[in-house]
Amino acid sequence: MQKEFLEHKLNINRRRFLTQVGMGIGGAALGSLLMPDLFGKSEEEMIMTGLPHFAPKAKRIIYLFQNGAPSQLDLFDYKPMLQQMYGQDLPASIRMGQRLTGMTAGQEKFPLAGTAFQFNQYGAARAWISELLPHTSKVVDDLCIVRSMYTEAINHDPALTFFQTGAQVGNRPSMGSWLSYGLGSENKNLPAFCVLLSRGRGNGQGVYSKLWSNGFLDSFHQGVQFSSGDNPVLYLNNPEGIDKADRRRMLDKLAALNDESYKEFGDPEITAKVQQYEMAYRMQTAVPDITDLSKEPEDIIKLYGPDCLTPGTYAANCLLARKLSENGVRFIQLYHQGWDGHNNLPSEIKGQCQDVDQASAALITDLKQRGLLDETLVIWGGEFGRTNYCQGVLTKENYGRDHHPRCFTIWMAGGGVKPGVYGETDEFGYNIIKDPVHVHDFHATVLHLMGLDHEKLTFKYLGRRFRLTDVAGKVVNGLIA
């Protein structure tokens, strides 16, 4: 009986064996050309050789995450009713007893706060856009504006985690890790998943490295954080006094020494190690080449705005994202903090929009002029929306808005999305009345655009097949061109 049992073991261990040597199923799919008999008749075969599951519309993603939750009511979701009923209490018939955060649950009144900003209609879709976003309004014909997003979480940490990993808690792999795992890298000198951080002047909420964690996937799929300092990737730079030639000298000796060890042990891990040192060496050249924005031509600087020459700004990160994407990085995740307008929303949101408006629009224009927009999916949005009623005291000049998970707006561009406006909220901007899009649906749709079936992109861990969309999600065909 023992023998058969072990044969069974060997079978179920094949995938693990592969991930140890390779780089996940994306990498293995590539390798399978060289080793056709590797994949017999197993479920892995279906996943591995079938990637992508169908023709992708997009090859790469740039996700401009607006961390802290921008107010849809001051940017995209125009509600004149809130001005008409300015200061009046939110009708109970609209709130319907839905839960509030501890910040405003104790308020006696929920005075409706119409936006302090002007709205106008733009583009073929006649989309309402606030005066805060003059640049965005110029590229509106490329945008697919989703006004009917909703989520389950009501606080930042779980909501952010939900958007990035498909679960509010649980140390699950991030979206970028799933894509790295599913599709691998297009560039052998750069990671498949890069992360860029910036911060505005508004009320900030931290970001956390778990948001770009590989979870239970191989750490090869972890997001690599690029920073604005001299060291664009942690530990990338040689120490002072060591140049490329000197590093090469060291690596050659190292390889010779490792080879001695290999001769003795015959362990393939040793040769794999040598390869990782070689990739590190290539990264040392490739990364600084890309992160050096100083050689960008005048018209590009003008397009993204002068901020793009200051490392670590949102504008610089947008430009860097374009360069990384152009070089085949699969998933680039930006985070821009400062959107948490609980108290001084009108003044804070102005500053935030100044940070992001021009560069976000520039990214669309830039990708388009390079012929890359069709194959690059750009996403802009936060983790939830903001309330139509005022948090704290409502005055003519000032208001604040609390967290609102029931509806909010994001936009997408390029990568096979259908430009226009999708979904609708009620006249109070409180509930969705048409075409709701849940976070799981959003994930399913994004994966679909990348050529992946969200129900098939799975990883078995602790006895369960995990997916980015957990047990839910449906592709929203109305968003797809």
Binding site: Q2, R14, K210, Y235, L236, E240, D246, A256, G266, P268
Partner: protein, 770 residues
Amino acid sequence: MNRLLACTLFIFAVIVTAASCFNKGMSEGALPKNVSYNFHIRPILSDKCFKCHGPDAGHREAGLRLDLADSAYAPLRDTKGAFAIVPGKPELSELIKRISSTDSAIVMPTPESHLGALSEYEIDLFKKWIKQGAKYEPHWAFTAPVKAPLPEVKNKKWVKNEIDRFILAKLEEEGLEPNDEADKERLLKRVSFDLTGLPPSIELMDRFLADKSDAAYENMVNALLQLPQYGEKMAVHWMDVARYADSYGYQDDNIRTQWPWRDWVIYAFNKNIPYDEFITWQVAGDLLPQATKENILATGFFRNHKYTEEGGVIDEEYRIEYLIDKTKTFTKGILGITIECAQCHDHKYDPFSQKDYYSLLAFFNNTKEKGFEGDVTASQPAKNPVLTITAEDRKNLLNYINSKDTNALMVSVMGELDTLRKTYVLNRGVYDQPGVEVQASAVKAVMKFDTAKFPRNRLGLAKWTVDRNNPLTARVFVNQVWQEFFGKGLVKTSGDFGMQGELPSHPELLDWLAVDFMENGWDIKRLVKQIVTSAAYRQSAKVTQQHLQKDPENIYLARSPRQRLKAEFIRDMYLSCSGLLVRTIGGASVKPYQPKGIWEAASSGRGVLATYRQDHNEALYRRGLYNFIKLTVPPPNMIMFDASNRDQCEVKRLKTNTPLQALIMMNDPAVLEASRVLAQQLLGEQSTVEEKINKAFRLIICRQPSATEKKIVKAYYDEQLQLFQLNKLNAAVTLKVGEYPLNKQLNAQQLAAVMKTINTIYNLEEAIVK
């Protein structure tokens, strides 16, 4: 380049060979003589069928349950006159018809499930199993282990202890021969890292090499087990299980004081507190009669999880979240089951109902803990209930807590409410959707919670856990310890002994060890010693063609696994070799060098951890396990080497190989400083350059270099020295790394050349492999 290509091709060749061998096993392999439910049928059923025809009543299709014999043999509800399984009669069994059908309307699993059709081999297995009577067996892990007789082996000389009988019997069955014992240098390196997390000193190496007696190795093991570093080594795994961290997590992620609990864990391992007590204290130390502060401190185990300090959160939502975390840590870390699926619905694979889940959670629901104690501006070092540890306590019972400060310490611990809080099933797992009320009870599918024997509180749960008849506790821990030494457990899915978990590679050995462990008073050091003195452990790690062909994954252990060190021990290695390591045990966690700006970039700007304030002097050179863990930004050089991010209970780390790891070993100032300091030390010694290089090699790789290795290293040194002397490289700049003082008496060019030679040795693959 050619060489690289050759390497690549070699790896592919290895995979192809391995894979064709796997395939052979599947396609050409004859069916087993006796088809076993547990080993052959249940893994397929669980993976492909239970999702819709398993324990989850909420998602059961056609009323059919295939995990229970009675239900599987019963007439089908939806197909009149048919039976899923007719024992002895595959041709009459609807199940066979369904799994072998090519009609998409009939075939099982359904195409929509994406589970994939069964292979011919699997279908044949089912036919044969049904033919042989379709006998169901209880799940192996839920029946109490018993000691099987030691198997007979041919090569009796190889055997050192009972473990080897089991290992060798299987090797002989497979036609594999175990490797010879590793040479003494490599064996000492392995056992030293495994028992202390540190490389052996040169004195220890010389002593061991000189000791030609038969007892040399055993004496060495005994000596290492007595070192206080043993407790530190063992604590690292337990800190992963207990998701230990130095901050509260969530968005503002402020500082907390949980490290006295960590000091207790180190102490407990060193004192060799029996595992049943170790668990009892951590689960319910506060409920013991005349509980001491030490007993209570141990319960910090259940309070290490994250706490939100985000303004505006809903208290109850988070209180429930913390209970879920406790339940998960208890079940995954101690029982090795994945019951969290039953938080929202009955478990799909294991016989755990949603009611079972909340009955278990009820044990933790009676604490004074709150979901929210205020935002970051009101943050305290511990959250209620709190244990106060005074300076007086630290002089007496708790003298292993390392604090120079005279102030009292506050630690989050467990503590019960006076009146029982009611617990309800939460529909879909949502905190404000209570369903039926439940009473505290442990998972009955594992072992009945006999209220005559166990009180309905955490102490009762602790007693149930360490009861001799509990089928999981000892197996799960023994397996975790095995994993520490062999890199993977006898059950590879060390956190899942359930239906979807992998089967043990050596079931009789696992059970023997578990029973033996309990019979001998849950003595952890004894178990560890048993493992490291076995011949299986002492083998060389040489990989032969036969190994790669017959057992590429090293399931049968015909060789010792070569394993990369854990992140913490990589740090300990370079600090120790350089002489920089400060061997203080315990105390508040430390903040060594870290790339600038990474806390700041990810911070909300609130709380005392918004900026990284690096430590100085001795605090720079503490062991890896004392590195400050800020949950939202754990130390990057640890995470890149697969350290747990401590977000949740983890029982097993990944072992990956990435370019970022290469960058750390080449460029992290901590490694460079260690290289410089070791160079300073060697240069200060009266010896030739060859002797210096030789010594560095021995310190780091823990063996004498071969002639070729000496030649390569020396050539690198000569080349470097010349470059420095010709000012092609700048010695002063190279040496300017780290805060440890530079010895200016030494020749800078020579020092820089030795430093870089040492750094190269630190970068050898073998340096971080045991």
